[in-house]
């Protein structure tokens, strides 16, 4: 219980700070909506074209929004010198990882929950399928799980905005591919059976990414 109490204390602290500044959600949401609008102008709303590119557009948008959001995950700790405050507290590094990861996951899910209906509206798509919701959730978990680790790594570098995507994208490509393929099927009205193999792959990567990130986070922040 103590583990989760401390995890939620770290997550709640991030939520409180975000409620005050709206630094992550508002900025990333504006970026996300702009990308969706640009895609809308570029590809139009012709059903044939949209069917072909919708899934790719969705995940390109969410991938870049996600990186933008993760870039800020440890900035508050870095800029205000609070990282050492966390390090000197009697909490395991795994608690810090889990708390920060849940905060980032919450912010990204909120952004996606707002962006998805707008995406659907602009492209005349029916995105309110359980399949798509599960795909988005599973992909976001894996994405944020490994992204939190790389964000902690990148925050200590001078060019962190560049370092994070360069390190991070090659690692999450399998999860993005799975999401694109599964979403393609879900957006064209596919059944659970059609997407199950891709969901399985995404789920497996989630588990691998979460476990590995959880275990090596301590080395990343201590060395």
């Amino acid at each position: 219980m103590s583990f989760w109490r401390k995890v939620f204390a770290i997550t709640w602290k991030d939520v409180l700070a975000e409620m005050r500044t709206k630094e992550i959600i508002s900025a990333v949401l504006v970026f996300t909506l702009l990308v969706i609008v640009i895609f809308n102008f570029a590809f139009g709303t012709s059903p044939d074209v949209v069917k072909l590119v919708a899934s790719g557009m969705l995940w390109v948008t969410f991938a870049f929004s996600g990186v933008l959001s993760l870039n800020r995950a440890f900035v508050m700790e870095k800029e205000e010198g609070c990282f050492e405050g966390l390090m000197v507290a009697p909490v395991s590094r795994e608690i810090i990882y889990t708390g920060k990861m849940l905060g980032s996951l919450l912010f990204l899910l909120i952004i996606e929950a707002i962006a998805l209906p707008i995406f659907a509206f602009l492209f005349n798509l029916g995105v309110f399928s359980w399949q798509l919701i599960v795909i988005v959730f599973l992909t976001t978990v894996g994405f944020v799980g490994v992204g939190t680790l790389f964000s902690a790594l990148a925050v200590n570098t001078k060019a962190r905005e560049m370092v994070l995507p360069i390190l991070f994208f090659p690692i999450v490509i399998p999860i993005i591919i799975g999401a694109v393929k599964a979403s393609e099927s879900a957006l064209s009205g596919g059944s659970w059976g059609d997407i199950s193999s891709w969901l399985g792959i995404t789920g497996a990567f989630d588990v691998i990414f979460l476990v590995v990130s959880y275990l090596i986070f301590a080395f990343v922040i201590e060395e």
């Binding site: 109490r5 770290i10 602290k13 205000e80 609070c82 050492e84 390090m87 000197v88 009697p90």
Partner: protein, 245 residues
């Protein structure tokens, strides 16, 4: 005192053969140090001598490259979390989140340290540092000195037995400095162990019982402050270091 051995029971801090390197640069070169319970030790040294690194390693913020550290008999390598419960640290960085209020910051750290009766403890400690009227103000709107007072409150929340102070008086006025030492010295009738770094020789001489001089990662001098006055300390400092203070 789980894990404590008989020899180290009266010691708050015991350091054996401590080294710390950053890449090829060796910052601490085999530090041996023993600090008794309730003792106050000041570490002097020129910039880059390794004072802050030593304190960060003692606070378990950094891992040592080699060597052994016991905090109240607890080996920080295997019992880091228990050791951290015994440590309070104040540095020129306040470890406070600017967008949160003083209360929210203190409440956050109370939760991390499992402080019982959080609200009462926060009221008690904030009164001690004279910041009650600013409790619900965002930290970023407070002056540097006020932030440092809140930082002192943060460091004392869990009633640590050992205080590590790295240039802790930065930004504090005379009244606040006096308050700092009053708050740090003791709580519940028990004296705290204090290890501090400062460039102010006079101040260090006044507040500490023992002086250490660190130069290029090595302790070049240690002795009692009892029979020492400022000119004598200055002579020792200059002969023990290559640079000016």
């Amino acid at each position: 005192m789980g894990g404590a051995n008989t020899a180290s029971q009266a010691l708050s801090v015991k350091v054996e053969g401590l080294t710390k390197s950053f890449g090829n640069r060796l910052t601490l070169r085999g530090i041996d140090l023993e600090v008794k319970q309730g003792e106050s030790v000041v570490i002097f040294g020129p910039n880059g001598a390794g004072k802050t690194t030593l304190l960060k390693v003692l606070a378990t913020i950094m891992n040592p490259t080699s060597g052994r550290i016991l905090i109240d008999g607890l080996d920080v390598k295997n019992q880091a979390e228990q050791a951290r419960r015994r440590i309070g640290i104040v540095t020129h960085n306040t470890f406070l989140y600017g967008n949160l209020t003083a209360y929210e910051n203190l409440d956050f750290y109370c939760r991390l340290y499992d402080v019982p009766g959080r609200q009462q403890r926060i009221q008690e400690i904030i009164e001690m540092v004279g910041m009650t009227p600013r409790l619900h103000q965002r930290v970023s709107t407070l002056s540097r000195g006020m932030q440092q007072r809140i930082s002192i409150a943060r460091s004392l929340l869990h009633k640590p037995a050992i205080m590590l102070l790295d240039e802790a008086e930065t930004g504090l006025d005379q009244q606040a400095t006096a308050m700092l030492w009053e708050a740090l010295a003791a709580e519940g009738g028990k004296r705290r162990t204090i290890i501090l770094t400062t460039h102010n020789l006079e101040r260090g001489l006044k507040v500490a019982e023992r002086v250490l001089i660190l130069d290029k990662g090595i302790i070049t001098y240690q002795g009692s402050t009892k029979a020492m006055n400022l000119p004598a300390l200055e002579r020792v400092y200059h002969s023990s270091t290559e640079n000016e203070p």
